[in-house]
Structures are given as C-alpha cells and as structure tokens.
C-alpha cells in the first residue's frame, strides 16, 4: 500500500509543524491555552488523587475483619499525626487571621520536559474556593504559590522554581531582601535545592539568620511572616550592590505531602 506508506511520514511532519506552531503561540500568548489545560485537569484530577492515595485504599481493603481493629488504630494514629501537623501549622501561623485549607500533593512536574519547572498538583481546586496567587504553606514553612486552578485540582509553583522570587526579611533587625532560586551572575554555584538571598539595603547578613516572607499587597501571592529558610553561608563581598547569601529552605520540595492553602480572613472559600 504505497499511499498509506507515504501518508504516515506526511502526517508526522504536519503534526510536528502544528506542535511547533502551538509552542510559538504558547510562548507569545501564555494565557491562551488555559482552557485546554483546565479541561485536561478536570479529567485527570480524580484519577491522580486515587493513584496518589492508593496505599491508604489498599490498607483498608486488605485489612479484613480479623485485623479491622489494627486498621482502626492505624487510621486513628494517622488522624492524630495529621491533627498534630495541622495544629503545629496553626501555631506556626503567627501572621494574623488566616484560614488554612488542608491539601495533599497528588502529582509532581515531569522530570523529562525540556524546561525544568518545579510545580506540583494539589487535590483542592476551584470547588474548594482556591484561586490563583494564593500562598501554600506546610508545617515547615513556605511551599509556594498557586499558579493554575482547575475544578478539583490546582498547580503550585514551588519555591525552588526559577520564576519564584520572594520578598523577604532576614535576621533580628529585619533587613529587606529577596530570595530566588537562580543566583545573580558571578556567584559560586549553589547546592541542589539551595536558594540565594540578595539584600536590598546594607544590613549585614549573618550565618544562621532566619528568613521570613515580607508579604505582598492584599497578601497575594505571599502572606507576610511565613518562615522560609535559614542562611547557611554568606558570599564574600565582591563590591556588588547588594550582599548575597545562601539560604537553605525549611521545606524539602521532594518529600512534600500534606500542605495547606492560606485563605486571608474575609476571603471566600
């Protein structure tokens, strides 16, 4: 069948060209494909949350009558642990009247896409009142901000992403600065997961300084005074404008599980 044999390469070439066109369109108008992403998210969210929770479901399924009591104990302990985490999270939020919506990480960004973004998907979305640019925290500190909201899921841009830049205060004096994943040019390379703090004023950065968020207008995208990390080393002064230092974030993005979306009091949801 020569016609079919020729049709396949032509289809492949046409579809590759269309994909390249879609790439250009997405780069030129980033918001244009949001409805497409949203509808895929609506379909994928239930499957992903089932897959992410398969171990719990299997636990209850396998524990039949004989070990039903043991399963009950496990469940209660898990609930207690989760309650403890939430209580600790609540205590950690000394930053005003906020409501926390518990959420679970159900998917992480693929490790093979050409542009390495750091995003995760949570199992809460528009139906729970989540909106774009809300802060996401965990028991340890700042996790990131919501960048996309689907019906029952939302995507979170993590702190270690190249696009995530957070205004911060550091040290006892509360010096101003910003924290980003990509260090300014000319600085020594950072370890995996380490962030770079750039001071705005001339406040001295010391090793061991606590770094907390500065906050944004209307608390979006970052609410104020959320613990972010600790200064682990200060870069030597090379005459640059702002002093820089290495910050180790409190939250390990690789082992994220239970997090919370921050609702500012008076907001819906």
């Amino acid at each position: 069948m020569p016609r079919r044999r020729r049709a396949l390469p032509v289809t492949a070439a046409v579809l590759t060209a269309l994909t390249a066109a879609a790439l250009v369109v997405d780069l030129a108008r980033p918001g244009l494909v949001e409805p497409l992403r949203g509808s895929v998210a609506r379909v994928a969210a239930p499957v992903q949350s089932v897959l992410a929770g398969w171990d719990d479901a299997r636990l209850t399924e396998l524990t039949r009558e004989r070990n039903a009591l043991a399963a009950e104990v496990t469940r209660l302990e898990e609930q207690l642990r989760r309650q403890g985490q939430l209580a600790a999270l609540d205590r950690a939020t000394t930053w005003g009247d906020h409501r926390l919506l518990p959420a679970r990480v159900v998917a992480v960004a693929p490790g093979t896409s050409p542009v390495g973004g750091r995003t995760v998907t949570l199992d809460v979305g528009a139906s729970e009142g989540v909106t774009q640019d809300q802060t996401v925290v965990s028991v340890d500190g700042l996790v990131g901000r919501v960048v996309r909201v689907g019906g029952a899921s939302s995507d979170v841009l993590l702190l270690g992403d190249a696009e995530a830049v957070v205004g911060v205060r550091f040290g006892a004096e509360g010096g101003l600065g910003s924290v980003a994943a990509v260090p300014p040019p000319g600085l020594p390379p950072r370890g995996a997961g380490d962030l770079t703090l750039t001071a705005v004023g001339d406040t001295t950065i010391r090793v061991g300084d606590d770094v907390t968020t500065l906050g944004s207008p209307d608390d979006r995208p970052y609410v104020a005074r959320v613990p972010l990390g600790t200064v682990t080393s200060v870069d030597p002064d090379r005459g640059q404008l702002g002093a820089t230092a290495v910050v180790r974030p409190h939250v390990d993005p690789d082992t994220l599980d239970l997090v919370a979306v921050v609702f500012v009091e008076g907001e819906g949801g």
Partner: protein, 161 residues
C-alpha cells in the same frame, strides 16, 4: 486492516504511563515510563510512527497536571526521541540488548535536552536528579520494555497497528 484497536491500545498505554507517577513514593524521581511506550512503537514501526507516538506522549505530559511549559516543548523533544528510536529499527533485531541500548540513548537525549536548556538559563535541572531519573528509567526498562515490545508485536501480528 483495522487500526483502531492498535491506536486505542497505544493511547491507553500512554495515558497510564503519564498518570502512574502519581502513585510513585514521594522523594524518588519517577522513571520515564512514557519514553518506553514511545520506544516500543518506534523500534517496531520506524521513525514516522515514532514521531507520531512521541508527539502524542509529549502532549499528554505537557497537559496533564502539573504539566510543563511552554506547551508543545515536551512533545517536540519526545518526537525527536521517537524519530531517533525509529532509525534504530533496522538494527533492533540484531540483538535482544539493542532495543534497551537504543532506549538508553534516547532517554539520555531527552534528559540531556532538559539539562542543556537549564544550563542556558531557562528552567532548572539538577544533574544528580537527571542521572537518577535516567538510571531508574533504564532499570524499569529491563522489565517493561520487552513487555511493551511484545504487545506491539502482537498488535502488528493481528494487523491492528
């Protein structure tokens, strides 16, 4: 010659390969199951099929939450990997080890693109993490790749693909 069952089987394999990493334990970089599906199709049917399956796979990876940006970049990189693997079809029958080696090269190419793009200042990629993903993918491929190739072979034998 009915191609619908073959297309449906590949679509099902791709969708499960994209969704399964959600069940992966957190903290471990997930293996690249999607590439293995592309590899099985490309190694049996050549570059054109490789490109088509690679495009479909990449679009799924780009769109299923949390997805990747810009839209279509992953599709192009998997399509290139599919074309590369399709070119290896001629020699794939020479040794049972060759499909695995070709897949290793293609996986390294896909991860290498990410590494190079990150080195150019767009996005981030930790070399250790890329290496771990690659090693894990190749370990999984030892078991999964022969199974996927057998599935493709059966589809072809029934003239479904």
């Amino acid at each position: 010659m009915n191609r619908v069952p073959g297309l449906a089987a590949r679509a099902l394999l791709l969708v499960s390969a994209v969704l399964l990493p959600s069940a992966w334990p957190p903290g471990l970089p997930p293996a690249d199951l999607v590439l293995l599906v592309v590899a099985a199709a490309a190694l049996l049917h050549g570059p054109s099929t490789g490109v088509l399956v690679g495009l479909a796979a990449g679009w799924l990876v780009d769109l299923v939450p949390p997805g990747a940006e810009p839209l279509g970049a992953t599709a192009l990189s998997y399509a290139a990997a599919g074309a590369l693997l399709g070119l290896a079809r001629r020699w794939a029958a020479a040794s049972p080890l060759l499909p695995w080696v070709a897949t290793a090269v293609a996986s390294a190419a896909v991860l290498g693109v990410r590494g190079v793009v990150a080195a150019a200042g767009v996005g981030r990629a930790a070399p250790g993490e890329l290496l771990r993903t690659w090693v894990l993918t190749m370990l999984v491929a030892v078991v999964v790749l022969p199974v996927l190739i057998e599935v493709e072979r059966r589809l072809t034998a029934r003239r479904w693909a």
